[in-house]
Amino acid sequence: MNPGVESAEPGGQSGAASGIEPVVRASGVRMSYGDVQVLNGVDFAVAPGEVSCLIGPSGSGKSTFLRCMNGLEPVLGGSLRVLGEEVGHTLRDGRYRPWTPKEFAAFRRNIGMVFQRFNLFAHHSALENVACGPVHVLGAPADRARSLAMEHLERVGLAAHAHKRPHQLSGGQQQRVAIARALAMNPELMLFDEPTSALDPELVDEVLEVMKGLAAEGMTMVVVTHEIAFAREVGDWLTFFADGVVVERGRPRELLANPAHERTRAFLSSVRNQKERQEP
């Protein structure tokens, strides 16, 4: 379940050699907001069933890269293939044609996304949030979608709160509903954009527990996070981002114990100092 991924050599990925199509494969991905270059040639890959964590200082482009993966941000250079498709374009008659909104929508159905600020639909109960995708996107019958939604809520431990509105739930509960909402679409890939950064410290673990369960079931996950312990324990791969590029990439334990680059060392020591200040 751990095909060697060598970001230093784009394309030199043993998963591809063994015939497994990677779920995500980025080479030289570039993206900018106006004149500000956010991604400066990102190389990256995720094989099926892998949990890949992205860490790095804020503004390093890790969240933007994650959002590129389901087309919420446009890729402006290089190549980003997700679930076998070049994100945003289809090759037809010798040219790459930009996707229509419908094609973007169809592509995103297979990718779950969890946001830092939850973004639960405020006018829906927890249950309706989870049933919303199957009903409105997949056209599932309402009663079937609701009973399935209930199962997903049970899985994240929130069946008792099914009829509450988002504002009646704690941050940790909201984030678990958000995970259930994404899972209700049966995604092939889950993207997590700093899922615990907006939570009070005592609520972080309940969300991480749900994510650990998912990883154990073999879900392919890309997780932007500041939770170093989670990355070490659950991640198959750890990627360190800085200034819009991948600085280094490796097995979490090795990378955290022996970072090869000065930039990584500086980041890790500043994160550890923060952690110690919080837990004296």
């Binding site: 929508a105 995103r108 159905r109 973004n119 639909f121 409105h136 996107v137 009829h163 958000a178």
Partner: protein, 302 residues
């Protein structure tokens, strides 16, 4: 204000004295005298015949005018709401031409007096003597005489409705823009198309912001319909004016009309309060199927 006695230094309860607000009593008395005097002047005015007010209050033409006023208000508001949502969505569209057209519409209809617009629609026949609806380059189609279509009633409905649409479009735009962008991102991430995101996620939430001012628009519309009297729309004001032009009882009939306008406003205000209690809070929820009404049903005992 405290009324409970305070235990004093001697150990026994001592009552608290009442403050006398002399200034309040005086200003209230002066205001009452002035207001009462003004009302008295009108009520006892020998030139005002209250019997006529009572006589015309339930006059057949007045009652039919009240009905026409309600009809024009409801139809013009409905037209304004539907068109207003369309203009607002166009205004927010990425298409620069659609957005500019919507801005132009809003500018034009807010920039010209509604009285001018009413007279314009009523006199449309000067520009287009006939209204023709046909398939281009064929002879298949329909044709109407403009003067027969543009009665006082239809020109009133069009003029007021198109005018309201311009104002309402800005309300809808504000409502849509007030919905957090994270809701849109979450809808897209689930695989919704932009249109579905607008219909299923954004508009139901924007309703909370849109509905309260809509009640005000309708109440204001009830009274703006009185402008219709310039195009003889047979509304309350038109009929009242036709009666007083015949019998010269101008003040009496203005009082009759005002009483009816005040009653309609009171009823509309009551309905607005109920509407806001229903939709103004977060009591908006989505039910699939069953059209718009089912979509925005209040949550049953949730």
């Amino acid at each position: 204000m405290r009324t409970e006695p305070i235990t004093g230094p001697s150990g026994t309860p001592v009552p608290v004295a009442r403050t006398l607000h002399w200034g309040r009593w005086l200003s209230a008395a002066v205001a009452l005298v002035i207001a009462g005097w003004l009302v008295y002047l009108v009520v006892v005015n020998p030139r005002l015949d209250w019997g006529k007010v009572a006589e015309y209050l339930f006059n057949e033409r007045i009652l039919s005018g009240v009905w026409v006023t309600i009809e024009i208000s409801v139809l013009a508001t409905a037209l304004g709401l539907v068109l207003g949502v369309l203009v607002a969505v166009m205004r927010l569209a990425h298409n620069p031409v659609l957005s500019a057209l919507a801005s132009g519409y809003i500018w034009f209809f807010r920039g010209t007096p509604v009285l001018v617009q009413l007279i314009f629609w009523y006199n449309l026949a000067f520009l287009f003597p006939e209204l023709v609806l046909k398939i281009p380059f064929t002879m298949i189609g329909l044709k109407w005489d403009t003067n027969q279509v543009m009665t006082g009633f239809t020109s009133a409905m069009l003029g007021l409705g198109l005018n309201l649409a311009a104002y309402f479009a800005e309300t809808v735009r504000a409502g849509i823009q007030a919905v957090d962008h994270g809701q849109t991102e979450a809808a897209y991430a689930l695989g919704m198309t932009p249109a579905k995101r607008m219909r299923v996620i954004v508009l139901p939430q924007a309703l909370r912001i849109i509905i309260p001012p809509t009640g005000n628009e309708f109440i204001s519309m009830l009274k703006t319909t009185s402008l219709v009297y310039v195009v003889a729309g047979h509304d309350l004001m038109t009929n009242a004016s036709q009666i007083y032009k015949a019998n010269n009882r101008i003040m009496e009939l203005l009082i009759v009309a005002s009483l009816w306008y005040m009653l309609m406003t009171a009823v509309a205000t009551f309905l607005q309060g109920r509407l806001e209690r229903r939709f103004g809070s977060d009591a908006v929820r989505l039910v699939r199927g069953g059209g718009l009404a089912a979509r925005i049903l209040p949550k049953a005992a949730a």
